[in-house]
């Protein structure tokens, strides 16, 4: 027995500390990481209010007040990226949830175990593929000179070929489809897991009462999974100010002619920071996203906590 434990026995206060110091020690690497990776950048958000000069450093640079924001919101970009981010997310949330709900209900009607397993694993494949490879897949279909759609479908039926990567008007549909392709399977599996968890007695009772399959779906399945669906919707709405960077940057191949349809807050911040090197604009847009995003996440979580405390983040 070590001297420390013997000493600790004598003094209850010290004993308490001695009892827990290894547990606190254990948390140090994780907390240190969160401090550096998450908390320092939060403090760093204040550069949006500075006139950053690399020679003078973060602390030496003069304060700029709201100047950066005044510049940002004077551009038409501010409206464009806000509109695109929110509208795309609203469409993604609605479309993906509806598709996943239908797929999960239908999956529950599949009787063959083998088929069920096949469907379930296949619809998850897109989720495992990185956005870079998704961009290749999209290119195989949409490339102007060699794409499947232009060469086989449009040329095959004698129609005019389309220069997909130069025509913004098609991209809202393409992006909604690609996003659904990548994410619906995942959501379906979540909904399906909840459907198979529904008490079998409810269906048994309904069958005895002579309820049809359709009635069972509308009167048992849907009401039973509504809380989960509502919760997922709220959590997605909480993230409405964040966009999937890969989807909006890689998939359209960063094509400049498409910006009106593909520019979102995340791509704007990236381009302003990395490609243009404009710290003031990018930090102002980043600050705008962080703060509004915080409010929406907080709001949605407060509502989730009211409905189902187990599913809230805090």
């Amino acid at each position: 027995m070590s001297g420390l434990t013997i000493a600790a026995r004598a003094d209850p206060g010290r004993r308490r500390r001695a009892k827990y110091w290894t547990l606190y020690l254990m948390m140090v690497p994780g907390l240190l990481y969160l401090f550096v990776n998450n908390y320092l950048p939060m403090i760093g958000l204040t550069i949006a209010f500075k006139d950053l000069d690399f020679a003078k450093g973060f602390f030496g640079s003069p304060w700029a007040g709201f100047k950066n924001f005044a510049y940002l919101f004077a551009t038409s970009d501010a409206w464009q990226i806000t509109r695109n981010t929110i509208l795309y997310n609203l469409v993604f949330i609605t479309f993906n949830t509806c598709c996943a709900l239908c797929a999960a209900i239908l999956l529950n009607e599949v009787r063959s175990r083998g088929a069920l397993k096949l469907y379930q694993s296949s619809i998850l494949v897109p989720n495992l593929i990185s956005m870079v490879i998704v961009s290749y897949l999209v290119m195989a279909f949409l490339s102007s000179d060699t794409g499947f759609i232009n060469k086989t479908i449009l040329a095959g039926t004698g129609r005019q070929m389309i220069s997909w990567y130069n025509e913004p008007k098609y991209w809202p549909f393409i992006l909604v489809f690609v996003n659904a392709w990548k994410n619906v399977g995942f959501l379906t599996v979540i909904f399906y897991a909840s459907i198979i968890g529904i008490d079998a007695e409810l269906y048994e009772a309904a069958r005895i009462d002579g309820a049809s399959k359709t009635k069972q779906i509308f009167n048992i399945t849907l009401p039973q999974i509504t809380p989960l669906v509502v919760m997922m919707l709220l959590l997605f709405i909480g993230k409405i100010f964040y966009a999937d960077f890969g989807l909006f940057y890689q998939v359209p191949l960063n094509s400049g002619t498409l910006y009106d349809a593909t520019n979102v807050i995340d791509t704007y911040v990236y381009r302003a920071l990395i490609q243009i090197g404009d710290i003031s604009m990018s930090s102002a847009a980043g600050f705008y996203q962080s703060v509004v995003g915080f409010v929406t996440v907080l709001g949605s979580n407060l509502i989730v906590r009211k409905i189902s405390p187990d599913n809230a983040l805090f």
């Binding site: 254990m26 760093g44 379930q120 593929i129 195989a140």
Partner: protein
């Protein structure tokens, strides 16, 4: 009555199977197109475009990649080591954070849990993170750039581990191990780990997938192509197909560019990028599905 109900049940079954077969096709066919494109003869593609049923097969793309295999093997090596190192370190650091938080007797545990949760509610975003890692921590063009930023510790995973530890490891086990004189580190590694293998496997799997698929860190922190993971290599070739040839020097480069089967080689390298994941998928499929269901309980 019974008959109409049976036939109704059957027609639901038929509709379900038809729709799910279509959904399966939509999910799988793009990958098939990619595969077919990569084994099509170059001039056939230039003439007919990418097709599910190519008129003429060809292996020039793969032959070309074989010649340049050093680049690809290197990228594979980087992806694999980053995935293994990142996942192992992440799992250890995260469980070392989650285990104390799961101990109901730990003073101030709610405060520390809140520190984890808060990182999921609010974040500094790209600009300060980028400036911190490049200007202060000087992580640019080092292998750490692929491992450390944003991927090593996820608040979501910490909470997932914590809630599993809380619910599945009985207090009595901890108490009796304590009486046996086990310190907290041994307790975590010898008692908690074996009891928590399902959640550890799930977190390791999900984190491993995000490391393997990550290209964002490479995009912003790497300019040195020697450190490119397979995703970064793919990303670079997507934007600039000549890149594959241009990494060769001098006179050799001229012939490399001239011989580049640019249309098929892109697809071939994308196949190489997606193949490891598709080969491994059947082996972890079950855990993946369970992980998703488990994850949905918390967010």
């Amino acid at each position: 009555m019974r008959n109409t109900r049976d036939s109704e049940g059957r027609s639901w079954g038929v509709v379900a199977n038809v729709v799910m077969i279509l959904a399966t096709a939509v999910c799988i066919l793009p990958v098939v197109l990619l595969l077919m494109a990569s084994i099509t003869d170059e001039s056939t593609i230039v003439r007919n475009g990418y097709s599910f049923f190519p008129a003429k097969f060809g292996s020039t793309a793969y032959e070309y990649l074989m010649v340049r295999k050093a680049t690809i093997l290197r990228a594979y090596g980087i992806s694999a080591s980053v995935t293994v190192v990142g996942t192992c370190c992440g799992l250890i650091v995260m469980s070392m954070l989650a285990y104390p938080l799961s101990r109901k007797d730990l003073p101030h545990r709610h405060l520390f849990t809140f520190l984890v949760v808060f990182t999921m509610l609010f974040n500094g975003g790209l600009v300060p993170t980028y400036l911190l890692y490049t200007q202060i921590l000087h992580i640019k063009n080092t292998i750490l750039a692929l491992i450390v930023p944003n991927l090593l510790v996820g608040g979501f995973y910490v909470l997932m581990l914590k809630s599993y530890f809380t619910s599945s490891i009985p207090d009595a086990v901890i108490e009796s191990a304590k009486l046996d004189g086990l310190d907290d580190f041994r307790m975590l590694f010898l008692i908690v780990y074996p009891l928590a293998t399902p959640v550890l496997a799930t977190v390791a799997l999900l984190q491993g997938i995000s490391y393997w698929n990550d290209w964002f860190n490479g995009l912003i922190y790497l300019t040195d192509s020697k450190l490119f993971s397979i995703q970064n290599l793919l990303n670079r070739i997507l934007m600039d197909v000549q890149f594959m040839a241009s990494s060769t020097m001098g006179a050799e480069a001229v012939s490399a560019v001239a011989n580049l089967p640019s249309v098929t080689v892109r697809m071939a390298i994308a196949v190489l990028g997606v193949l490891p994941m598709l080969i491994a998928y059947p082996f972890f499929q079950k855990h993946f599905v369970r992980g998703i269901a488990m994850g949905s309980v918390k967010g």
